[in-house]
Amino acid sequence: MLRFNPAAKICRKAYRILFISGFLVCLMARLQSQELYIFTEPASNMPARSLGVRLNNDFYSMVHDGRYTYRLNPEVMWGLNKNIMLHLNGYASNMYEQGFKLEGGSVYMKYRFYSHDDVHSHFRMAAYGKVALVDNPAVLTVTHTHQVNDNGQITEHTENLVYLADEISLNGNQSGFLTCVIATQLLHKLPLSGSFDYVNRWDNLNAKKSPYQSDHGLDYSLSAGYLLLPKVYKDFRQTNFNLYCEFLGSTSLDSHTWYLDVAPAVQFIFNSVSRLDLGYRTQIAGQMTRMSKSSFLVRYEYNFLNIFNKK
């Protein structure tokens, strides 16, 4: 007789994930590499004295009320010098309310502290910090209407139920900070990038954080990507078509719950200055209480190269 064993179940899942990652790694090893990752940042920086603008559109499937919500996330990126870059983000969504509202913003700074370049390989490491300030409620609420029999008189009763999620996300959901270390290795057309960060939640601008939600956690990721087209480059105007696969995980340091997401994505690069990213992210393992277990990303990015150029 088979006994239910949760440890064995987790092992089986972990084994499956390892198998899938191994397969992807082998696949990528045979193909051209790409490291303009969709859901994470590589350790490489954008060119110095250049400006990039992004329009990030996130579509979430909410766990607490089953709604599909949308977040608009415009982003400005600035390469200060060859080692330091800065991102400024704004957030607006209908995740916490029925209506669309401005939520807040974040500042992100990345410092590339190690580079070892070779013709066909490189290893780079970078550290980044991010601070987000948002004006959302501290918790998600579900409005629940039901009928109450009050001494034979039936009345409608509405109540707001609080949904407590342990997931900490500084992409517009909560105020807080995170510090991250990234390593990107390109070896004979096999690009792999791993990151590890510590994230800490603060009180939101006008709402104290709930003591029943996680205050801090660890995030980790493994990313790979490859160039599918063109097979042979002819000029800068050729459209590039890239495929990506990323694994994104998180563990709460308070509740000790965790999740692991897989995020496949496609990318088009136009005229070697702009790109269009289409990505899907979904949970494959874990038991953390989350705001959303699957989301879709549509991003457009345009780069203005050398606009702060010193002759």
Partner: protein
Amino acid sequence: MRILFFLSFFFLATASLQAQFSKAELQASGLTCSLCSNAINKALKTLPFVQSVETDLNKNLFTIVFKPNQVPDLDAISKKVENAGFSVAKLWIIGEVKSIAVGDESHLAVNGLNLHFMGVKKQVVNGPARLQVIDKHFVLAKDYKKFSADTKMPCYQTGTMSDCCKPLQATANSNRIYHVTI
């Protein structure tokens, strides 16, 4: 005899006209996509002495054509590549040379550049010449280590002229000395 003397004087005086470097070829390292190549391409085009840049996207090779009669600033080229987020793996300066005798440790001022030949057998270069610059920031870190082990000359470490470069001091435009090999 007098004619010969004048001829040799003329020959020495026009030594810098014995060679003209019209372009450079650069191999960049650390690149993965055309967006990266374009960042280098656009950065190189902003240099005042650069006439045009051609790119071989498959080999990450950039051909930089210099404007005629302008002194190319090789350090500026390397800086542009590094600011774009990458490094120079190899850089060659290419031009026409008319019968110039070179050997190991010989010095030459060409196109306003002070050149110090390293690891070169005694020979007369005539016709098209392709010199690889082997200074720091022009080769991979591991190659720089290899070249550093081969020489004790302080000028290779500093990139500025020292006692070993004395023959050039009269003709130099600046103290910067580039180390090259064939």
